[in-house]
């Protein structure tokens, strides 16, 4: 008996297996064929195959021993640019035995690096170009500094279109002998919207219940898996139930470790989708921006965000004509 997370089990090994991002895959395949790779930036939303594409490229370049010529770093896990620089130095210093004279370093979440760290990274990239090629992975390429961007070939990944995601999920379901209903498939798309990693994780969690996967099952699983439901919290606050809303907020921060900056980002996103008069949205956006600024100054996440929730409760009350 062996089980893995399906997102890993069904991760393509080679570029030829990649189901999506056709244009990108074609260009990468030409790199592999010519046995040369420039520094690259893979930018795009989560779950769209950036890391997979990088791993596949390495596989196609070096064959089965690709792991020896590949290093994965995650900017958000490494403490400071010095760690990155030291790791890169040791990794890049030793030449490869094969015919390809360079190794590949994947630097994930590169957009989380500060400007200074990126400047330092740029020098490291230049210094070791001969022996090491960088693939920077980011959600937003705009957060990568200009001088790095100009040295890299840019690749823009986009959310999977519905059909492509469906093909992939159906294939997994069939292989795992899971009964995936049509409305279950719909539900996964509604909830995960083209983020393949989340889609597959949802599928697997739903399958673990051992029942046919219907929309109902999907929603219940996703509900259980996402206690950090900012949308629900806003609704509760707008219902003028501040105390319950603050309780949810506290759980998110303390129990589930959600960062205040992530919560504020989500609130901002939700704000403009709320069913409230347009001028209110602008009013509230100003408060949201203020809170964001205060968090950056080092203020307490829960205290600041709950002041915002209290404003939402006030807004909800006034809109009901209270």
């Amino acid at each position: 008996m062996s089980f893995e997370m399906w997102a890993e089990k069904y991760r393509p090994k080679s570029l030829s297996q990649m189901v999506n991002q056709k244009d990108i895959v074609e260009r990468l395949e030409s790199f592999a064929k010519s046995r040369n790779v420039p520094h690259c930036i893979f930018a795009g939303p989560p779950g769209t195959g950036k890391t997979t594409a990088a791993l596949c490229l390495a596989h196609d370049l070096y064959g089965e021993v690709y792991r020896e010529n590949l290093m994965e770093l995650n900017a958000s896990d490494e403490r400071g640019i010095n760690v990155v620089r030291e790791t890169v130095k040791t990794f890049a210093r030793i030449r490869t035995l094969g015919e390809i004279p360079f190794k590949i370093l994947i630097l994930d979440e590169a957009d989380n690096m500060t400007g200074d760290a990126q400047q330092a990274l740029r020098r490291t990239m230049e210094r070791y170009t001969e022996t090491c090629r960088f693939i920077l992975i980011a959600n937003y390429s705009g957060k990568i500094i200009e001088p790095i961007q100009s040295r890299c070939a840019p690749f823009r990944f986009t959310y999977l279109p519905r059909e492509e995601q469906d093909v992939h999920l159906k294939y997994i379901a069939e292989n795992e002998k899971v009964d995936l209903a049509k409305d279950g498939l719909d539900a996964i798309y509604v909830v995960c919207g083209g983020d393949l990693r989340r889609s597959i994780n949802s599928l697997q969690a739903a399958a673990s219940l051992g029942k046919p996967i219907t929309s109902e099952i999907v929603y219940s699983v996703v509900g259980r898996a996402n206690p950090a439901d900012v949308h629900a919290m806003i609704k509760i606050a707008m219902d003028s139930n501040f105390i319950e809303a603050r309780k949810r907020l506290r759980e998110m921060i303390l129990k589930y470790g959600v960062a205040g900056s992530d919560i504020i980002k989500q609130i901002h996103g939700e704000l403009f989708r709320l069913d409230i008069p347009e001028n209110w949205k602008v009013k509230l956006a100003e408060i949201v921006g203020d809170v964001d600024f205060r968090l950056a100054e080092g203020a307490d996440e829960e205290v600041q965000l709950s002041a915002l929730l209290a404003r939402l409760a006030e807004a909800g009350y006034e809109l009901k004509g209270g």
């Binding site: 008996m1 062996s2 089980f3 893995e4 997370m5 997102a7 890993e8 991760r11 989560p46 890391t51 791993l55 994965e72 995650n74 958000s76 896990d77 994930d108 979440e109 990693r197 989340r198 994780n201 949802s202 697997q204 969690a205 673990s208 219940l209 051992g210 699983v221 259980r224 898996a225 996402n226 206690p227 003028s240 501040f242 105390i243 603050r246 506290r250 303390l254 129990k255 470790g257 959600v258 809170v291 205060r294 100054e297 080092g298 203020a299 307490d300 829960e302 205290v303 600041q304 709950s306 002041a307 929730l309 209290a310 404003r311 409760a313 006030e314 909800g316 009350y317 006034e318 209270g322």
Partner: protein, 421 residues
């Protein structure tokens, strides 16, 4: 003119001090040992609950031994410069009038560890070089920040205990005699018992009940409610949440016997339960957010002057938010919940980080992503499917504790591990 009886009838001699005679004689012996040169223990740490007579005993001893008591409060040794000021005092044995000196650092509880980072080390350094006895007083000796004082070779540690009710009673009787009040013994016994060994509060109660009277009967005192120590924070909360003027609300800070961060937590926890008009609640929460912003700036810049603004907003700011709000019925004040949650979740966060690292190793994601995008789904799997969970446990090399956490309980975890083997 109003004089607090706690001051007016403060014991003048060692014999008059209520209880703790053993502690006092230990302290006296140590103070006398300075006559023969500097002893190995260069400071004494007196600790015990509030109102049991730590300071009073020392004052009486100083009088007896004809020593000059130089008293410093927490606010005097908050900063490094202020500490160095009294370091000068400690370098001489005698004062201007030839009297031998004792330096007293009272209310050490007020030096809070994280903020006054430099204070404790600076104090220990002064003690090392002192030429006259230094005495530290605090309520909670076992507080983490005092850990460096636990070395019995270097510090004389003396615990003051709550004196028995019978001794408190004697003290109250003495005061009544001096005030020319006839008091029924039952009445005084009642006050003494209710005080739970806090002599100061017993005397305060006596004054409140008996001042201006010729006679104090049991009926006069029986209504006196059980004086729970929690009462203090509760009356503080009442001032902040229902104070009519800025001044009343701001008084809370002087009254509260907790530090400002803790006071903030109390106010922050309780405010929403005492406002029912949403716009007024929003104002109150905004005031707290503003106070918090000042706290952040203080942390960042070490500019303690800003504290007064933080205080303004967390007290007066909250009180003035009220216009029409009334709580629905009687709402009890509650202990800050998030302090409870914080301590339990710290261990949990460590566990989550370990799990995140294991997922990262296998799944090409960052630790944060693993926690956010993978772990929640894994939890669903572990709660619902033993086979799949067992397989994943093997694949990711989770240990038993981690399985416990992911499966959300020992029972489910056991079942998973059983399937695995």
């Amino acid at each position: 003119m109003y004089t607090a009886w706690t001051t007016k009838h403060k014991p003048k001699t060692v014999a008059e001090v209520v209880g703790n005679s053993e502690a006092i004689s230990t302290l006296e012996k140590w103070l006398r040992s300075w006559e023969r040169g500097i002893p190995r223990q260069q400071a004494a740490f007196l600790h015990g609950p509030p109102g049991v007579g730590k300071t009073v005993a020392l004052e009486a001893l100083a009088r007896k031994l004809v020593m000059e008591l130089i008293e410093k409060n927490a606010s005097d040794y908050r900063t490094q410069e202020k500490i160095s000021q009294f370091a000068g005092l400690a370098s001489q044995y005698r004062g201007f009038f030839g009297k031998k000196r004792i330096i007293l650092l009272d209310e050490m509880d007020g030096v809070y560890g994280n903020v006054d980072r430099g204070a404790i080390p600076a104090i220990t350094k002064i003690i090392k070089n002192t030429r006259c006895p230094i005495i530290l007083i605090a309520n909670d000796f076992w507080d983490k920040k005092f850990v460096s004082f636990r070395d019995k070779k270097k510090y004389l540690i003396i615990e003051f205990k709550k004196p028995p009710a019978s001794q408190v009673l004697k003290h109250l009787a003495r005061i009544c005699a001096e005030e020319d009040i006839f008091a029924e013994e039952e009445a005084l016994k009642f006050i003494a018992q209710r005080s739970e060994g806090d002599v100061r509060s017993a005397v305060n109660d006596l004054q409140a009940l008996a001042q201006g009277k010729k006679k104090l009967t049991y009926d006069d005192v029986s209504w006196l409610a059980y004086r729970d120590r929690k009462d203090v924070i509760f009356s503080v909360m009442r001032l902040v949440l229902y104070g009519k003027t800025c001044e009343t609300a701001k008084q809370a800070v002087d009254l509260a016997d907790v530090d400002l961060d803790m006071l903030f937590e109390w106010i922050y926890e309780n405010t929403p339960h005492h406002f029912n008009v949403p716009s007024e609640l929003a104002k109150a929460m905004e005031a707290l957010a503003t106070a918090d912003l000042y706290r952040a700036r203080i942390r960042k810049t070490n500019n303690w002057k800003l504290m007064r603004y933080a205080i303004d907003f967390m007290t007066a700011g909250v009180a003035m938010a009220r216009d029409k709000s009334k709580p629905s019925g009687w709402v009890p004040f509650r202990f800050p919940q998030r302090i409870k949650t914080l301590s339990t979740s710290r261990a949990e966060r460590g566990m989550k980080a370990e799990i995140g690292k294991k997922i990262k190793r296998r799944m090409h994601v960052s630790v944060a992503q693993a926690q956010k995008d993978v772990l929640p789904y894994m939890k669903v799997i572990f709660e619902s499917n033993l086979q799949m969970a067992a397989g994943l446990t093997k694949w990711l090399c989770f240990d038993e504790e981690e399985v416990n956490y992911i499966a959300g309980g020992k029972r489910q975890a056991k079942a998973i591990l059983k399937v695995m083997n």
